[in-house]
């Protein structure tokens, strides 16, 4: 599988809401692999990749959060100047639009992991692979 499951959580722009999510995940012994937060003046969307999606979703829902699920693509680049640009150039050439993205650096090794949300995931994966970009399968990312 070339796709990674990401969960997203709706948050009101109020003090303590993010901490409430992390408390629920901590209590459930769920490890967060990567996250990003998009916000507007009155609400935010927290996007998470965790080691146990089903359990995380269940626990958050139980606590009254609205939780969504989206497939994203993770790929690996060398952690050096121009790493991200190299990939974006490929996508731009192929006219693939990025809805949003975020990144984190792996502790082990010298690579950075980029998480992409595409409109058309299959086409994007095809373009990346054709250009020899390393796409990380979900199972591998959850257990990094």
């Amino acid at each position: 599988m070339d796709r990674v499951e990401q969960i997203s959580v709706f948050l009101e722009n109020k003090a303590g809401r993010l901490a409430e999510v992390t408390r629920i995940l901590a209590d459930a012994k769920i490890n967060i692999r990567a996250l990003s937060l998009a916000d507007t003046s009155d609400f935010g969307i927290l996007r998470l990749i965790v080691n146990d999606n089903a359990k995380a979703k269940e626990e958050l829902r139980k606590n009254g959060f609205t939780v969504g699920k989206t497939d994203v693509v993770a790929c690996e680049v060398n952690d050096q100047p121009g790493g991200l640009h190299h990939i974006l150039k490929i996508l731009q050439k192929a006219n693939v639009n990025v809805e949003y993205m975020y990144a984190f650096v792996q502790q082990s090794g010298h690579n950075a992991v980029l998480i992409f949300r595409f409109d058309n995931l299959d086409d994007a994966v095809k373009v990346l692979k054709e250009n020899n970009v390393k796409v990380i399968p979900g199972e591998k990312l959850y257990t990094i």
Binding site: F43, I45, F65, T66, V67, G68, R117
Partner: protein, 433 residues
């Protein structure tokens, strides 16, 4: 000045004789021409000939907003359409408006009531009236318009909106009277101040404000900022439009009900019993001269009380206290009637959202603001900000289209809207009246 000195100062006994005769005629007419009233009276076992004194009024059945809705659009008309010369409408809970018609004589009556109201505020034929009530289906604009013309004043039909142009006209045309909703009057006052106009610089002397509840504090503020004398005017389209009652500028203590055209009662909204003099309750009107759509004991849902003590102005008409609230959940926002159920119907029609909502009304500065909180369930939720913002925009647009009111829509977490005993609190009104 008293416009119709004969009627407006009729001694009580003579007034009641006029009322009884007009009531009897009205009941006879609606029984003969409006199937709804024939059925209602038959069900209550009352014949028009049973109305022998004003005391018999309380034996007649009530008319509610729901009855008007059930007979949408023309079912309550008591005259053939060829006799109807004007149709107005007000917003209703289901999105369908409440429709009212006027015969030529109804329009004459209405114009006289407005002429009386403007006179009670101090306006004379020598005045220039700046009319900022909205023109259209709403009764405010055209109602004031024809009354001011009957009075002989010089009327400027400005209508609502375009504050800049309003200020220009107020400055250059030299109006001496202003008619609009009280919140809009305050808005204009502030806009004038921002434009560098000092209170004494405008030629305004009188203000006739209504269409929404307002406080004594607001009156003081408007009077100081616009340097005029302000009175409250009351009315509802179902009964006539503005000009059902008005304050006199001599006392400014309660609104004189034009009792030669409307009989007011105060009832307990729960038991529907008529309450004694001076008690606070729901205001009920029977129109006794209207031809096109007379209403018997129409429940206004407005909460007030009646004061029968004589007034220093000389008018003998009873005074109703400024309306202090509603016996249902209707909100008046910038002069527009808004029912929570209307917002609910907007949300229900949008498949994406669930109808878990709350309305928060604030008065920011001088303008009422409506914020609609909508809970985000999983059917609406997306991981993309622009999708959620598009939903907020779409809800606001649909509300604006149906209700004509701009709303600020905010998405909130599920279950974050306070529920008491499982029922969501639908309305938080932070305005102080």
């Amino acid at each position: 000045m008293i416009y119709n000195i004969e009627y407006e100062t009729l001694p009580r006994e003579a007034l009641e004789a006029v009322q009884l005769r007009r009531l009897q005629e009205t009941v006879e007419r609606v029984y003969a021409t409006v199937p709804f009233y024939k059925r209602k009276l038959d069900e209550a076992g009352i014949k028009p000939s049973d109305i022998r004194s004003l005391q018999d009024l309380k034996r007649l059945p009530f008319t509610t907003k729901q009855d008007l809705r059930d007979n949408y659009p023309y079912g309550m008309f008591a005259v053939p359409m060829e006799n109807v010369v004007r149709i107005h409408a007000s917003s209703g809970t289901t999105g369908k408006p409440t429709v009212v018609g006027y015969t030529a004589r109804d329009l004459q009556t209405w114009a006289e009531l407005i002429a009386r109201s403007l006179s009670a505020a101090g306006v004379t034929s020598g005045d220039i009236v700046h009319n900022s009530y909205g023109y259209g289906l709403f009764t405010g604009g055209l109602g004031i318009h024809q009354g001011a013309e009957l009075l002989g004043a010089s009327l400027i039909p400005v209508s609502g909106g375009n504050t800049k142009r309003q200020i220009l006209i107020m400055k250059d045309f030299g109006p001496t009277a202003l008619t609009c909703t009280p919140s809009y009057a305050l808005h204009l006052a502030e806009a004038a101040a921002e434009a560098g106009i000092k209170p004494g610089e405008l030629s305004l002397k009188y203000g006739v404000f209504g269409g929404e509840p307002w406080t004594e504090e607001m009156r003081k503020e408007i009077e100081a900022k616009l340097n005029l004398s302000a009175v409250d005017i009351y009315g509802l389209s179902e009964v006539m439009g503005p000009g059902v009652s008005v304050e006199c500028r001599e006392a400014k203590q309660g609104l004189h009900v034009f009792e030669d055209h409307f009989i007011p009662e105060i009832i307990n909204p729960v038991t529907q019993e008529v309450l004694p003099n001076g008690a606070q309750g729901e205001l009920v009107f029977t129109s006794i001269t209207k031809e096109a759509c007379p209403l018997i004991r129409y429940r206004t849902r407005d909460i007030t009380s009646l004061d029968r003590r004589p007034c220093i102005c000389g008018r003998t008409f009873v005074r109703m206290r400024k309306v202090s609230g509603r016996s249902d959940d209707m909100l008046i926002i910038r002069g527009v009637n808004v029912f929570p159920s209307q917002i609910e119907s907007v949300l229900m029609e949008m498949k994406e959202v669930e109808p878990h909502y709350q309305l928060v009304v604030n008065r920011e500065g001088t303008l009422d603001t409506l914020t609609v909180l909508v809970e985000v369930g999983e059917s609406v939720f997306s991981d993309e900000v622009r999708y959620l913002q598009a939903i907020e925009k779409k809800i606001a647009k649909n509300i604006k289209e149906l209700l004509g009111v701009s709303a600020n829509v905010k998405l909130v977490e599920p279950k974050s809207i306070a529920r008491s005993e499982g029922k969501a609190q639908r309305v938080i009104d932070n305005r102080k009246f």
